[in-house]
């Protein structure tokens, strides 16, 4: 039983990664196929930047943004649940809730006048938007630690920091990881749109294809970014399940 579940879990992670890897291998060699499908296109294969480089750039942007988002979200979440920062909790929560109603496109568009075109506004938008799920889940997770557990830790003479580090954070790790996963997935999607403001990501073939009426570019970019999103989700999901199981 557990072995079957384990195999199932491995497949759930390996399948999207395998799809991504095979796409990265096949797509650069797929020019003839796209030519056969869409003979009217003079350039049936996106070659301005290699697909591997685009994927790496996309992944780098998402990774950096998620690291920042986790640092800020976790820090604010911890701060707002400490006795000294408790009065900030309603305000922080309001920011997280109202912030979620801001569409990612809007956050991206606001970042452009501040930072100009390119990767910088995309990164800012990814961080700002990525903080919200981490923050929300950190607060939810820390609030859900049973009071009895906290009292037990206090009774055992744990200091504030030791209680946070050894009791509260481990118990809240599942929800926090769910927030990190959501943050990363939203970032993968927003980074795709970021190519519309000049960031080089897997969205670049899509946007260039849409502008230049080149369906082949669009399909190539969309397939890769779809596979990347599913891979990121699968890997982070596996980590989350492992944490929740303890």
């Amino acid at each position: 039983m557990t072995k079957a579940r384990h195999t199932h879990g491995v497949i759930r992670v390996a399948a999207p990664l395998a799809v991504l890897a095979s796409l990265l291998f096949v797509l650069p060699r797929s020019g003839p196929w796209f030519h056969a499908w869409l003979p009217e296109l003079s350039h049936p294969l996106y070659t301005r930047t290699s697909f591997g480089a685009l994927t790496l750039a996309h992944l780098a942007l998402v990774t950096i943004a998620t690291l920042f988002a986790v640092a800020i979200g976790l820090g604010l979440g911890i701060l707002a649940t400490r006795p000294s920062g408790r009065s900030l909790l309603p305000t922080v929560r309001a920011v997280a809730v109202i912030g979620q109603t801001f569409p990612p496109v809007a956050v991206l568009a606001i970042a452009v006048p501040l930072l100009g075109f390119g990767a910088a506004p995309t990164l800012l938008a990814l961080v700002l938007y990525g903080v919200l799920p981490v923050l929300g889940q950190t607060i939810a997770g820390l609030e859900h630690v049973p009071a009895a557990t906290l009292h037990a830790a206090d009774g055992m003479g744990y200091g504030r920091w030791r209680r946070l580090r050894e009791v509260e954070l481990p118990l809240a790790a599942g929800p926090i990881m769910a927030g990190v996963r959501l943050s990363a997935i939203v970032s993968v999607g927003t980074a795709t749109i970021g190519s519309a403001v000049g960031a080089t990501t897997l969205g670049s073939p899509i946007v260039e294809g849409l502008v230049g009426n080149n369906t082949a570019y669009v399909v190539q970019g969309a397939l890769l970014v779809g596979a990347l999103a599913l891979s990121v989700d699968a890997v982070l999901g596996a980590i989350e399940r492992r944490i929740r199981r303890g």
Binding site: T101, V105, A109, V112, I193, A222, G226
Partner: protein, 374 residues
């Protein structure tokens, strides 16, 4: 006392830094060039925020009321100040000059809004709603009186009034169609999932899988199939089923909206305890009667909460649909980005945000109303 005042200190300090260090306004020679920063009121504004900090630090009577009132005046007053300063700058500048609010303005405005939110906490709901509505109304009155006419955002709106109104209507049509379709299909699907106890089944799995695919990719991938459909059945083409346009956009938005609708429908049906259902069945209610008379009234708030999330999410995602030619406010954003016209981007963006917040507010109001009645 000290800890109660912490939010005020943090927010005022943020506003103080914004007033002193960030540009209040941007002045550009025309619509497309980027301008230079001007902060004509940096010191008075910084002094005002320092005063708020001081009032909070020393104990005076009615301290909280003073801070909340200041925040309220900030919400209405900051745009007025920006508008007045813009007029002053424009009075001796060329006709093409554009003045737009800078980062300092936006941050201070945000701080004022959060301060008001904090200050109103614990008051009666009627007082809270009244404070916000009066603030919004004041801004509308100021706008009607021409107080913001100097700001480039208003000028952009003046210049593009007709296309802007059309874009708003288009955006609402996209989101509305999606929402109705998602409710009509998602609610029965959710009922089926609930009946079969398939919350982790294939249907939900596929929908969750789709949720992960980036919106731009899904929109883009639908172009091919929809173009093929239009070629294969020309009748569909006359319905707007081209490769690009509203049809693939609504289809993709519908796919994204389905999962929350299904999940919240199932959760809403679960909101009625099993013994209540048994009791109703024991009273001789048919399954349909049970659904209509017991489960729907009791589970309605949960479904409504789900619809609220779906509506806000759809309004945001519909902006991306502009990239596949579906129109809407996203067209303003992306056209503006393409032309480097910041005002146009801002006009589209602000409209999307306001729409999302308004829809959120309406759903919350309906939710509060139904819960009160129940």
């Amino acid at each position: 006392m000290m800890s109660r005042a912490l939010p005020v200190f943090v927010l005022s300090a943020m506003a103080l830094v914004a007033a002193a260090c960030l540009p209040f306004l941007h002045v550009a020679p025309n619509r497309l060039l980027s301008g230079h920063a001007v902060s004509p009121l940096a010191w008075p504004l910084a002094a005002a925020w320092l005063a708020v900090i001081a009032v909070t630090a020393v104990r005076i009577p009615m301290q909280r009321v003073v801070v909340t009132a200041t925040a309220w005046f900030g919400i209405a007053g900051l745009p007025w100040l920006a508008g007045a300063e813009a007029q002053r700058i424009l009075s001796d500048a060329s006709a093409t000059t554009r003045v737009q609010p800078g980062a300092g303005f936006w941050l201070m405005w945000l701080a004022a809004a959060l301060l008001l939110l904090d200050g109103l906490r614990g008051r009666r709901p009627a007082v809270q709603v009244a404070a916000w509505i009066v603030a919004g109304f004041t801004i509308v009155v100021l706008a009607a009186a021409g107080a913001f006419d100097g700001l480039s955002l208003v000028r952009e709106w003046r210049a593009q009034r007709a296309p802007f109104a059309a874009a708003v209507a288009e955006h609402l049509r996209l989101a509305g169609t999606t929402l109705v379709l998602a409710l009509l299909t998602g609610a029965p699907l959710g009922w089926w999932v609930w009946r079969r106890r398939r919350a982790d089944g294939v249907v939900v799995g596929i929908l969750a899988f789709l949720q992960t695919v980036p919106s731009l990719a899904l929109f883009a991938l639908l172009i091919g199939p929809f173009a093929w459909l239009a070629r294969a059945w020309p009748a569909l083409g006359t319905l707007g089923f081209g490769g690009t346009g509203a049809a693939p956009a609504v289809f993709a938005l519908w796919l994204y909206a389905l999962l929350p609708v299904v999940r919240y429908t199932a959760a809403g049906l679960d909101a009625v305890p099993a013994d209540t259902r048994d009791a109703a069945r024991g009273l001789g209610m048919s399954r349909t009667q049970l659904l209509m008379r017991v489960q729907l009234p009791l589970g309605w708030p949960v479904l409504l909460a789900g619809l609220r999330i779906v509506a806000v999410q759809t309004i945001g995602l519909a902006a991306v649909a502009a990239l596949i030619g579906a129109g809407g406010l996203g067209r303003f954003v992306f056209l503006g980005i393409g032309q480097g016209a910041t005002d146009m981007v801002l006009l589209g963006t602000l409209a999307i945000i306001v729409l999302a917040l308004l829809v959120d507010f309406v759903f919350q109001a309906v939710l509060a109303w139904t819960e009160r009645r129940a």
